[in-house]
Amino acid sequence: MHQNISSTEHPESGKGVPIAPRWGTADDKGSGGHGGRSPPKRSTKFLELINVAKTFTADGRRVEVLEKVSLEIPRNQFVSVIGHSGCGKSTLLTMIAGLEAPTSGSVCFLEREVTRPGPERAVVFQNHSLLPWRTVLANVQLAVDTVFPKLSRKDRRERAEHWLVKVGLKEHLHKYPHEISGGMKQRTGIARALAMEPQVLLLDEPFGALDALTRSTLQDEVLRLHQEQHLTVFMVTHDIDEAVLCSDRVVMMDNGPRATIGRILDITEPRPRERVAFMESQAFAHYRTECLRFLFWRKHGREPEPVVKAVQVQAASTASLAIAG
């Protein structure tokens, strides 16, 4: 039932542990929580996917996108999902958000089944989806007004401004979405999500459309907010570096259809993480290689050529890209 719960302990507890990534595979049964072990100290499970499957029907054809996905995410953990396109990783996110219901199995939040969306599970959408007829402030204001209707008008306004200042948009409160850059739009989206004061932040390829510089700034921002606000983050991405840099756990999806969790990689690097130092470290290269190996394996059905050093893998992947290009 509950596979892949190899890292139910608090991410902070892994501090200073030498880098020894543990694999959690789909076949790895009963390694935590259930089975013969004594129950974990925390009595309520925070966020849990139990044997989730999703089937879409389009034009009379049934497409089984996801199958047997089970995952437990403890409070305050940063989880990323990577996988080839079409593996249903975004579908997974929409089910946690409650925007779509699983065909079978269930998503549980604080041990209650998720049946509909709610502000405690805020979503930052892939293409920001700001309401174009509202200013930056008014977009965030709508979230504050609906989630905290009991606060006074002044308080609500202050709250909306507070979050916008926090993501660095103090100067752009009264601009319309079409007047600001893509990065600022995404920041507004993040501010809107945070303004709901959610317990879980769901990020759907949040920085995919941004340039590298903006992306890294926003990644740092999200990491900072994750630390500050004690958020639990579930991020869908196709950027391996981003996944490794940000996450406590990287969930790797098999290829669809009937995709399921292939492997789970624990990133035990302590927080707060120093971007450059971490990315230059042996550990980072190792994590990155593991992810690449998995994706390579899923794509070509075999292991890549054995490599001794991570650097070589990087070179090889660059070379293959060059050939492909």
Binding site: P117, G118, R121, V123, L131, W133, L142, V147, H178, M196
Partner: protein, 343 residues
Amino acid sequence: MHLLERAAITCDRLGFSWIAPLLRLARGDRPSHQIRLFLLAVGTPLLAITAALLIWLALATQVRIGNLAIPGPTAVWDRGVEMVVEWQDERRRAAEHEAMIAKAVADGLTQAEARQMLNFTEKSTFASQVLLSLRTVFTGVFMAVLIAVPLGILCGLFKWAHALSDPLVQLLKPVSPLAWFPVVYIVMNALITTPSQSGDWFPKSFIIAACVVCLCAMWPTLISTANGVANVERDHLNVARVLNLGFFARIRFVILPAALPHICTGIRLSLGIGWMVLIAAEMMAVSPGLGGFIWNWYQSSNETALSYLLLSVIVIGMIGFALDRAMIIVQRMISHGAAAQIR
């Protein structure tokens, strides 16, 4: 940004693209380029109108159809001037009348007594007829919008509502105002039994004409609204869902604003149709509006009738054009996003 440049951009956005080059010219921004733009924007329409007038003039002076002389542009212009003069005279008469009443009141009569004694009925002039026509078309289209927008929202939101209404809409949409008229006429005659009085704000002919306009003009708004509502971006609806917005909040904060450009396009089409339908409806209802004006001259054996009729055709065309431009301006003002180009 420079004030003139800002004004120029606003003019561009609102569809007065011929003013913008003048403003930029005043700023000294590439004069030859701006002059060319201005000539293109103003010169070409002017050229077309001049050409049309010349052809008309030639036809009027050269061609005779039996006994019928075609009135030329000058004759129609004279009629126009005549109408304006008539309107000013009538204004003066009304002002004099008011002065007399004021005097009578000063002499110790009450308002009502004075009005009764100095009986005055304002003669209907061309201008007052145009105003009445405008009032009728706005009333009719307003009623159409009041009915069509909520229905359209319902049809856009719910498949069943669309399935229910679609056959009816498709059936009623192509019905001509001339077919509606007798139905509305008979129903309204049965409904309104009090005889209409002059000076009455809603005489029967007005109500009938407005109802016919409403019946014919509501369909574009209904269809456009339904389309706009059905095509609200999925992401925006998802935002509403994540926020747990209620039904009415969802309509107010997400669906209506998103569909507003579509609704506006629908209203613009409705107004166009309404203005076209109105003339026919007024002619049949013998309303003292533009349609009534045309009807009267059509019935008269006066040989200048044709010039009055041509005048009314031109005025109807100009008002229709002005209404459309006005709606485009409204549409541009409310449409969001950088590039909302509507032609």
